[in-house]
Amino acid sequence: MASSIRVRATSNGDITEVQTLIQHPMDTGLVKDAKGELIPAHYIQALKFACNGKDVFVANWGTAISKDPYVKFSFKGAKKGDDLKISWTDNKGGSDETTAKIA
């Protein structure tokens, strides 16, 4: 299965800029479906980025994050070709991870 995570990590000398899009419904648990039944909450709680064995960015999310979440940040200390590992876990125990090369 294709990964739910899409990453673009670009190095600009010392600073690496990371943009991520994740496919996830991010259901709040407050919305009803077409039949009028409540859609249970289903959302990503933790998202982690690690580079060279060190966490570079950690996100803790609630239900207020938009569907198919997007996040952008930058960090120092990596170079082109380094691996960036991205992983998430959601409130139903689901998870996914991927590794991107810094370009």
Binding site: D55, F57, V58, N60, A64, P69, S74
Partner: protein, 161 residues
Amino acid sequence: MTTHTGPHPTRRLILQGAVSVALIGLGNLPFAPVRAAANDKYPEAAFKLKNEADAIKALYGRTAEPSDKIKLDAPEIAENGGVVPISVATTLDKVTSISFFVAENPNALAASYTFPDGTIPAVANRLKMAKTSNMTAIVESDGKLYSATKEVKVTVGGCGG
């Protein structure tokens, strides 16, 4: 319980139980120091609170003061409350975390980001907003809390209502 130092899932299950509070209190379990060092436990309680001030308190244990060194970038008017792009950047030093709160949402805390050494204290993401509300970014810098707030109007149906 035995001295089982299993992989993460096991450890997390153990830690999640109410019993764990008492267990960690004993402080002689092999895994306790490992988890204590990593301050990355999901702040479940803070995400459940309705009121913004309560959520800030639950997450940080103190209150924030406004700062002009935080740049909160949010649209004046959002036509779709489901996707509101918000970004924050700050010139404050030693930033360890940045959190976003939407006062009028069912649960005020939207996101909390941790910044290890070497990560630039800026983040962009997209939030859901139930209705027109104040949006607050809290920046934890050198152990102190600073905030910036901006009102975002949500127009339902895109006709300025």
